[in-house]
Amino acid sequence: VSTANGVYEAMPADRLRALVGRRLRHVVRSAYREVPFYRWYYDRLGFDPDEVASVDDLARIPTVAKRDLLEYQAGCPVTGERDPSLRQIHLTSGTSGVGRESHPRYAEDLEAVGIGGAYEFLWAGLVPGERLLLTIPYSQTMAGPHFQATCKAAGLVPVNAFATGTTERVEQLYQFACAGLSATPSYVHALTLEARRQGRRPDRDLPSFRRIFVSGESYGTEWAREVEAYWGARVHEGWGATQTLGVVMASCELGAVVDGPYGPARGVLHGLDHRCVIEVLAADGSPVGPGDAGEVVVTTLRTRGLPSVRFRMGDRVRRLDPGSCRCGRTSSCFEAGTIGRLDDMIKIRGMNVWPSSVDAAVLQGAVVDYRGRVFTGGDGRERVEVGVELADPSAWSDEFVTGVRDRIKAIAGVSMDVVQLPSGTLREEGFKSRRWRDERASRR
């Protein structure tokens, strides 16, 4: 067993519950007192934070949806406030069509942002001084600062490969004798193909390499086992978001895929219960039972700039019995590898893309309809293809394709290939058929 913090990993449930209850009460009150959004939101709903005395009162607190925060920030942007405590602003990834939340960060947030991820890395068995290859881009989203802070919190040395290409990243794994890498499953697949192309055998010639940390997408157990065999490394997973100030669920030393009675099976994500209250709710707002799936609703206990208080993530997760992992930890447990969206959002190259934004870019003029496909190209990279059908096929031109591609890039934020579909293709499929298919190799 790899211990990251024996204080909490061995803390009796009643003590932890008391701590979380006290903290929850403080978070709700201070959010109302100090965060303009919560004052606006709770006043609008007539909610009194003094109603919360313990964890038992959690369900009394109104949930918050992305649209609530966006509605408030449309009128009161973070950048419009003069706040001497402001240290960073993190935007959620996404599209201008749906809106990107702004999360102000204070000094306390910047010290807290990496702690959850440190649990993930230390549980996986990495030790201070080891090198971790980072591939997620550093931009105005939280991802860049988060991974830097996570390495700092875990004592790991970041190898900042986000500005290089896939070929160089494989070389850097060897150059720095990395112990692990952090990437989306789709990118791990691309890196694997490149390493194979280079004739590498990391299971034999890179003995330092032991762990692959995936996040941001679901993935298949068969795919994960193949990756593990090639790299000689175990696949681990962490889940977190801008709204949770980093990782709040992580796999333990057993990894994200375990041996089941009939082959590889889904492992367990452990909730970091002392840092975030994670509820899993059914559509009617009631908590789901163990074994059932529902929406992730989070309440952060360590965020100051903009805490999430019962924030509806729009993500779907399967809740498991606490303590159901063979590691013996008694934390809340969730199924690894299958966290997806309740809506139709698709994560493409680390960006949140809502099909509605592509609808807005494509469904104009002579376009009858379109179909989108996310797949793994021959080079292992994620590709997106939008097949468009025109009412008059003869209207297809280079100028039309360029116009559609530019609008998609501008509105959805991701580059996509645009191809013509034969006339009549889509009408035959029916108007209400789903427009998007996800055929990425890591889904196996």
Binding site: V1, N5, V7, Y8, P12, R22, H26, E108, R302, R326
Partner: protein, 90 residues
């Protein structure tokens, strides 16, 4: 033995966290860090109030306070954002 308690045998034959109370060593650490929390908060206030402009020092004091608050939380002391209670839990 990790700080915070011993580990007993899990039902699957693997080591499992136990419900042991915090060890004396952890309790001592909690007392020490509680003093640090109060100290760094006091320091930050003193820097602000001392009358000599020194934003570099003020920002370092702010970061020190934030680090100590995080240290306290991970040690099971309910200190965090300003206004949080400083003291061991349970």
């Amino acid at each position: 033995v990790p700080p915070g308690g011993d580990r007993g045998a899990g039902t699957a034959g693997r080591p499992a966290p136990t419900a042991a109370p915090a060890s004396r060593g952890v309790a001592d650490l909690q007392q020490q860090v509680t003093a640090l929390v109060l100290g760094t908060r006091s320091l930050a206030e003193s820097v602000d109030a001392c009358g000599v402009p020194m934003p570099i020092v003020a920002l370092l004091a702010e970061r020190a306070r934030a680090v100590v608050d995080e240290l306290a939380w991970e040690l099971g002391v309910d200190a965090g954002a300003p206004g949080g209670d400083a003291g061991p839990v349970g």
